[in-house]
Amino acid sequence: MTPDDEDLIRRRQRGRALVVALLLAGLVVLIFAITLAKIRQGIPE
């Protein structure tokens, strides 16, 4: 594996890790918002 290959792999891994982190943060916010909406509707479950 050349240094260029290693660099490409690192860059892709960093990009994917960042996107997954953002998606997980978005999911947390979404679940919280859904919970509030359900409470507003009077449906606790």
Binding site: D5, R12, Q13, R16, V19, L30, A33, I34, L36, A37
Partner: protein, 299 residues
């Protein structure tokens, strides 16, 4: 890992995004949103957003599984050769895992946040697109897109079900509209990319039955499509805004379809009427669904 398996670097996140066919998703999301907004109930904005997100994720998941299964066909078609799998930028197993995971996530989230009816219809639409259309019909019959078209017709039904927990006559007519719109839409495309489909061994109607039959079928399918488009108005399910827009838009569609249905392509033909019908058919669906929502909100 055996010697035949090429060692690929991890796919870029943009390739995962490309697997979901974002351009196709636009129409799916729009019709789903309109189905939800046309429903006679108020939907909490957060839950409405979640429903549309689930429809988009479900459509993306189905697109990913479609690309996973069709990588061999995509590789020989110019239109699709640059997709992540045929271009060798992604491992097939990664695409499969992504598609299955996203399918399950979208259905579970829909079930938990909205209701079981919407989740069930979403699950059926994903399974229909992947198993019935992609795996079973596409390579076997020229009727592939007629029956497979149902998969793309589900979103308004899902949107409505997400809002009401139920289905009714209007979303069923919207389902029929998209279902019957699909054959003229895709066969117009197939007429001008016939060589691509023939090279890939996909039995699209122009490849198997020839141009003349395809043109006649475009004309024939336009008739019930027109009925499904206009019917909500006389049935009292929509108001005059939708009725007028649907009537005018459908007349124009019928005129373009009639031109395609009755003409014979000559050599050095640039297939302009077919390309026009294909482009207009996309606009047509956007306009009709938009008019439905405007009609509902102004009523």
């Amino acid at each position: 890992m055996n010697a035949a398996t090429p060692l690929l670097p991890p796919a870029d996140w943009r390739d995962f995004l490309a697997l979901t066919k974002p351009r196709v998703m636009t129409l799916v999301v729009f019709t789903g949103l309109c189905g939800m907004l046309a429903a006679p109930t108020h939907v909490d904005p957060v839950l409405g957003f979640t429903a549309i997100l689930c429809i988009a994720l479900g459509a993306g998941a189905a697109g990913a599984l479609n690309q996973w299964y069709e990588a061999d066909i995509d590789a020989v078609m110019r239109r699709t050769a640059k997709r992540p799998l045929p271009a060798g930028r992604m491992d097939r197993q990664a695409a499969l895992h992504f598609g299955v995971g996203l399918s399950a996530f979208s259905v579970i989230l829909m079930g938990l946040a909205l209701n079981l009816a919407a989740a069930a219809i979403l699950a059926v639409s994903i399974l229909f697109y992947v198993l019935i259309y992609t795996v079973w019909l596409k390579r076997r019959t020229p009727q592939n897109i007629v029956i497979g078209g149902a998969a793309g017709a589900f979103p308004p039904l899902i949107g409505w079900a997400a809002a009401t927990g139920d289905v009714a006559l209007l979303p069923l007519l919207l389902f029929a509209l998209v279902f019957l719109w699909t054959p003229p839409h895709f066969w117009a495309l197939a007429l001008f990319v016939k060589t691509d489909y023939a090279n890939a061994g996909v039995p699209m109607l122009p490849v198997v039955a020839g141009e003349r039959v395809t043109r006649r079928q475009i004309g024939l399918y336009t008739l019930p499509m027109a009925a499904a488009a206009v019917l909500p108005w006389p049935l009292g399910l929509t108001g005059a805004i939708y009725g007028v827009v649907a009537s005018g838009g459908t007349l124009l569609f019928a005129a373009f379809a009639a031109q395609v249905a009755t003409r014979t392509a000559v050599s050095d033909d640039r297939m302009k009427p077919e390309k026009r019908l294909f482009s207009y058919s996309i606009l047509y669906l956007f306009v009709l669904f938009g008019a439905l929502v405007v009609d509902r909100w102004l009523a």
